[in-house]
Each structure stands twice: as C-alpha cells, then as structure tokens.
C-alpha cells in the first residue's frame, strides 16, 4: 500500500533545512557544517575580503591541510613554493576569521574526510558541504553532504546557505551478503560499473540492503565517498545503532541531555516504508567479486576473475570508442586476464580507503610477504590518528617488514598534488577513487582496487584473485 506521506531520508533533511523558496528562484538551503581544505578555499576568502563580508558562523567550519602537504620530511619546509604559499594562505585565512584549522603540526591533521568523522563533527540529518567532491563521504552518517565549487564556498561562508535545486532520488540496494573478500570499495566499483559515471547525475543516492547495513561506519564512508564517481550529488545511508555508537563520546558529539534529544531526532530520519524513489537499482551482494578498474573512468571496471574487455564487446559505439581510447592510454590489450596485469606501484590511502580498517585489511594480506621486485609500495594513513592507531597495533611494522613505505598523512598519490606521483607509463594498484588520465601523474596508469587487493598486488607484482588464493 502506498503511503502518500512517506518520505525519503533525503526529503526529510531537505525539508528541515529549507530557509526560503519562492517561485522563479532557487530554493535556499541552510548549511550546518562547512569543511575546508587549502585548494578550493583561497579564492573564496579573497572574495569575502573584496566585498568586505564576514564569515557568518565561524564555528560551523572545520578546516585541514591535506592536498598539498608532503607525506615525508614533514619537519622541513614544503619544497614547492606555490604549494607552500597555498598552505600559508590557508593558515592566514583561518587565523583572520578564527576558524578551527588542523594544520600540519596539529595531532588531528589529516585528510578532511577522514578527520571530520574522527571528531564527530557531522551528525545524522545535517547539511554538510565542502569545496571537494568527496564530501559525499559524510552521507555515511545519514547526513546530506555534497561537494561545492569555490564560489559556493564563499556563498556559504557569507550566508550559511546555498541556493539549491532539489535532486532526484535513487535507491541503490545491495541484497544478500558480500563474500568475505569483498569490501565497500568493491560494492562502490560494481555499482559504478553497472550504472556508469553519469548514472547518478541529478540524483542523491541512498544505499540500502543487507550488504550495506552490514558494513561498518568506515565501509559506509568508503561507499558514500564514491557516490560522486557515479555522478550523484550525494550518497547516503540511513543512520542506525552503528552510526550512533560511532558518534557517541566524540569531541563534537551531542553531550548530556542533548544526546537523548538528538538520538530521538536521528531515529526519525530513515526513509519511511513505502517512500518513493525516482530510480531504483538492485545488486546481489554475492554476485560481487573483488573489482579492478582497467580503464580511465571508474565505470571501466571488471571483476578480478575476468578479462580486460575489447572495444568490440560493447554494443554502444560511444562505449566502444571510450574503451579503445582507454586501452591505448592504459597500455592494455583487450582480452588480457586481469590477473596478468603487472604493476609498478601500489598505493594505500586517500579519503576513500585511508582509515584504520583499510590498513588492517591490507596488513592482513601484506603480513609475511615481500613487495615484488621493481614495485614501489606506499601506505599513507588518512590522518595522524589513523597513523598512531595503526602503529599501536603494529601495522606499520608489517608494512615496513614487507618492504612498504609508511608515510605521514595526506591526500598524497590520490591526486598527486604533493609530489607523490607516478612517472609516465607506470602502473599503480591504488585504493583511491579516480583512474582518470594523468590523475596520479602525467602518463600514469591507475587501477582502482580495495586495500586487500592492493596489498596482494604489491606482493605478487600483478593483480591477484584474493578469494581464490585464500580458498586454496
């Protein structure tokens, strides 16, 4: 039976944040939390200064330095003068406006989408923005979190609102259980492989189903993080007991009597029974194998058990052409077994897979192995807290003993702004989120995988079907 009053999680948050809507104008949406890093904010601060506008609510902002920061030799000044200026500009802007900045000396420093959840800064039901497309990460908490441009960063600082058209809603349901060798990353890649990088355009995705509910908060963050790679404005998961347990006690969590009031509200947020979605996509958890991207778009992905496709295998001319061009860039022949693709580099880290669970999963595979001859392998924790935790658990030793480098936190080789990059033609098993041409360095070739798959590839020098290996 259809309940006409049934609402989705997205609709509930939308309605609770609508400040004003008059015909002919974009609805004005209130923003609760604003996250910031050094790359997409300097021009916004400059705009405020030119217009002589203050930051409306400095306490709504949490900032970090992550994109340009070196992951080694952190005691020395940043060698690249332009990067150094960008970092110094961020520090000066935050000081001027009294903003909470986790700078490079701060023990809370790390990648913005890693540090924000660590401190409980985003709660269920919040509208959260950041000049960064991977803001979708925070949808894992049942928040509406999305990336914005620098003009919008300035807009939010000045007004605490954004003119926003309401998105369509998409339900992505993953039924059944995942195999023990598959992770949230494999779900994300399988979903993008199915619906394409434009499949979510104009939509907010709610992820649900048994396999999604079974994910830890960290797994949900990985999944929502990559909603943008499917073209969606945001990804979200309904808040549940795991969400509440994760937030409770953290620095910015509601305290005392507020906790109960907040909890009651959060429990009212999940989509109502019978709520309508504009689009629904269903995957079977046990159909998902460990995924490896083979091309230059996250939708160009295949199970590790399969082969690189040929252009002729696509019915669609555009996809065939895209395949041909991607194979050319990637230096791959259609029909190659994925497990025959040899790598030069392995990277574990990023806002997608730079959390403690990711390093635990990778360390479990890396333990007692040796990085293959000719392969460089770097492990880059997403934050100092992740680094310290991993070191307490002895994970750093496992990586170091296996021949990995153990670095300081930052975005690092996910987008290669800080000097960590591939050379022309080098091939990388990467736990990051984008395999675009040149993303990890000009001419670099990126294969997106889960942390365990990256660790296995580093040891073998090529991709490995970890499910077969462990089963034997």
């Amino acid at each position: 039976m259809t309940n006409v009053n049934a609402k989705t999680l997205y609709e509930k948050i939308w309605e609770a944040h609508l400040v004003h809507h008059e015909p002919g104008q974009a609805p004005l949406l209130y923003v609760d939390r604003h996250l910031m890093h050094e790359v997409t904010s300097p021009q916004a601060f400059e705009g405020l200064k030119i217009a002589n506008r203050p930051v409306r609510n400095p306490s709504s902002i949490l900032a970090t330095l992550d994109h340009c920061v070196p992951t080694k030799d952190r005691d020395k000044p940043i060698a690249d003068p332009i990067a150094r200026k960008q970092v110094e500009t961020m520090m000066a802007n935050c000081a001027t406006h009294g903003l909470n900045l986790y700078d490079m000396e701060n023990p809370n420093n790390g990648v913005i989408h890693i540090v924000v959840p660590e401190h409980g800064f985003v709660h269920p039901g919040m509208v959260t923005v950041c000049g960064d497309s991977h803001t979708a990460t925070h949808g894992a908490f049942g928040a509406l979190a999305f990336g914005i441009g620098t003009s919008e960063v300035e807009h939010v600082m000045a007004t605490q609102t954004l003119p926003q058209e309401k998105s369509k809603s998409m339900m992505v349901r993953v039924d059944g259980a995942l195999s023990e060798f598959c992770t949230a990353k494999d779900i994300a890649l399988a979903v993008i492989g199915k619906i394409g990088t434009a499949g979510g355009n104009g939509h907010v995705i709610e992820f649900a189903g048994e396999a999604v509910q079974a994910l830890s908060m960290e797994g949900r963050m990985t999944l929502c993080n990559m909603a943008i790679e499917a073209g969606a404005r945001a990804g979200m998961v309904a808040p549940d007991q795991k969400t509440f347990d994760y937030i409770e006690g953290k620095e910015f969590a509601p305290k005392g009597a507020d906790w109960g009031t907040a909890l009651n509200y959060w429990k009212s947020l999940p989509s109502d029974e019978g709520a309508l979605f504009d689009t629904t996509v269903v995957l079977q958890g046990n159909d998902i194998a460990p995924q490896v991207s083979w091309g230059t778009s996250p939708e160009q992905v295949a199970p590790v058990t399969s082969t690189v496709p040929t252009p002729e295998s696509f019915g669609d001319d555009n996809k065939a052409l895209a395949c041909k061009s991607a194979l050319n860039y990637m230096g791959l022949a259609g029909g190659t077994q994925i497990t025959d693709i040899e790598i030069d580099y392995a990277f574990i880290g990023s806002c997608t897979n730079g959390r403690i669970e990711d390093f635990r999963a990778a360390a479990k595979v890396a333990r007692g192995t040796t990085v293959a001859a000719g392969v460089t392998a770097i492990a880059v924790p997403g934050s100092y807290h992740v680094k310290v935790q991993a070191e307490e658990e002895g994970l750093d030793k496992i990586f170091l003993d296996a021949g990995w480098e153990w670095r300081e936190p930052g975005c690092s080789m996910c987008l290669a702004m800080n000097g960590d990059e591939l050379k022309e033609g080098q091939r990388c098993a990467s736990t990051s989120n984008r395999n675009f041409e040149g993303r990890q360095g000009k001419g670099g070739r990126t294969h997106l995988v889960s942390p365990a798959m990256a660790a296995a590839a580093a040891a073998a020098g090529k991709f490995v079907d970890i499910s077969a290996n462990n089963a034997s």
């Binding site: 400040v19 002919g24 104008q25 974009a26 209130y30 939390r33 790359v39 997409t40 021009q43 400059e46 217009a51 340009c68 690249d80 332009i82 960008q86 800064f121 709660h123 919040m126 960064d132 497309s133 803001t135 999305f146 990336g147 914005i148 441009g149 620098t150 003009s151 919008e152 807009h155 000045a158 007004t159 605490q160 609102t161 003119p163 058209e165 990088t197 434009a198 355009n201 104009g202 073209g231 969606a232 404005r233 910015f252 969590a253 509601p254 507020d258 906790w259 009031t261 907040a262 509200y265 778009s297 555009n318 895209a322 987008l415 290669a416 702004m417 041409e437 040149g438 993303r439 000009k442």
Partner: protein
C-alpha cells in the same frame, strides 16, 4: 560576474565523452591562490607537447577554432572533482557557452557562477551540431540568452530551457551572495528556530 551578452561566435568541436575536470585543468595547476590565469592551463595534457609547444593533433589547436566562444562536446562533460578551477580555465580561455547532452552536477552549477552558459540538447541534436561543425570548421553559431535560442547557418538551431533566476542573474551579471542576503531576516529566523528545536547543533561546534 560579467553579464552574459548575446553573441555570434565560432563553435569548436571536441567530440569526447566524459571529459573530466582532471583533463580540463590538471592538478599541478590548482596550487594558485588567485582566480585568474587558468586559461593557459586548459586541457594542458592534451593541448601541449612535452616541450611546451602546441600539440597540433589536439582538436582545439585547429586554427579554425581560434577565438571560439562556443564549445560543442560529448556526454557528461565536467565529471570528477568540484574544482572551480575548471570553469575558471574555460572562461579564461574564452569559452562562454558549452553544448552537450549532459553535464556533471557540480560543474554545471559552477558554470553559472562564472558567466558560462551550459546548454543541454538531446543526442540527435548534438550529432547534428557536431556534423555541422565537422563539415564546416570555423562556422559561427548565434546564442541569444534573452530569447533562449541558438541558431546555426545550417538550420540546426534550437531553443533551450534555463531557470528564470539563473537567466536573470547571468544577463545582469548579478552576485548570488548579494541576492541571498536580501533574505537575511529569513536566515536569522531559521537559525533562531533551529537553536530551539535542535540545540545540540549550536552547542558543540
């Protein structure tokens, strides 16, 4: 923001799908703290040879497309990062109109903040426009934002939809922030109500 004026300009053809923001402006150029000068880096990795000279095989380097203000391109243009450096580079290079079947959401929003008009057409219309350019490189199209039309010499013109507020802002070069601050009283009222109903949001931050 610069007001958007009607114009008759060369339309350049870039027949590629899923052009991502890492291609539009590669990350090594994102370290600047200014908004200006990004046009020199537009499509850097495709546009230039390793020695810095123009790669003559890259479509936008064709002499016929010099001075183009209109870019006709494939599906899902601007996917990837939220970097506004991408539309800054496009505008600084000289484009003010992009025609495609679809755009990535964040990129699409960013265009309107930078006086770039992103126009969506169906696949058949895009093919017709692409064919017209391919068979007559250097052809000029006319964009009339007030009347919401594009006209072409071969008759492949079309009318387009645009939200009235976006059209108004573009034609008048209006600052979004100023327009929002007209509603300052409503924002303050919203905040007072939220402080009452969800006090925890205001205590810890």
């Amino acid at each position: 923001m610069e007001p958007y004026k009607n114009h008759n300009s060369v339309a350049a053809l870039m027949n590629r799908n899923n052009v991502d923001t890492d291609q539009i402006v590669p990350k090594q150029f994102l370290k600047k703290v200014e908004r200006t000068g990004f046009g020199a880096h537009l499509f850097h990795d495709w546009r230039f040879n390793p020695d810095g000279s123009d790669d003559i095989t890259f479509e936008l380097n064709k002499p016929a497309f010099k001075g183009a203000k209109i870019l006709v391109t494939g599906d899902n243009f601007g996917c990837g990062s939220s970097r506004e450096h991408a539309p800054w580079a496009i505008a600084d290079y000289g484009f003010n109109t992009i025609i495609s079947t679809s755009f990535a959401d964040i990129f699409y929003n960013n265009c309107f903040k930078n006086s770039i008009l992103p126009l969506i057409v169906d696949g058949a219309k895009l093919d017709a426009l692409m064919n017209e350019i391919a068979s007559n490189e250097g052809v000029s199209f006319t964009v009339d934002l007030e009347n919401q039309t594009v006209t072409t010499p071969a008759g492949n013109g079309f009318s387009f939809d645009i939200e009235p507020f976006r059209k108004h802002n573009m034609i008048n070069g209006l600052d979004d922030i100023g327009l929002t601050l007209v509603h300052e009283d409503k924002i303050s009222t919203f905040e007072s109500n939220q402080k009452q109903s969800m006090p925890w949001l205001w205590r810890n931050a």
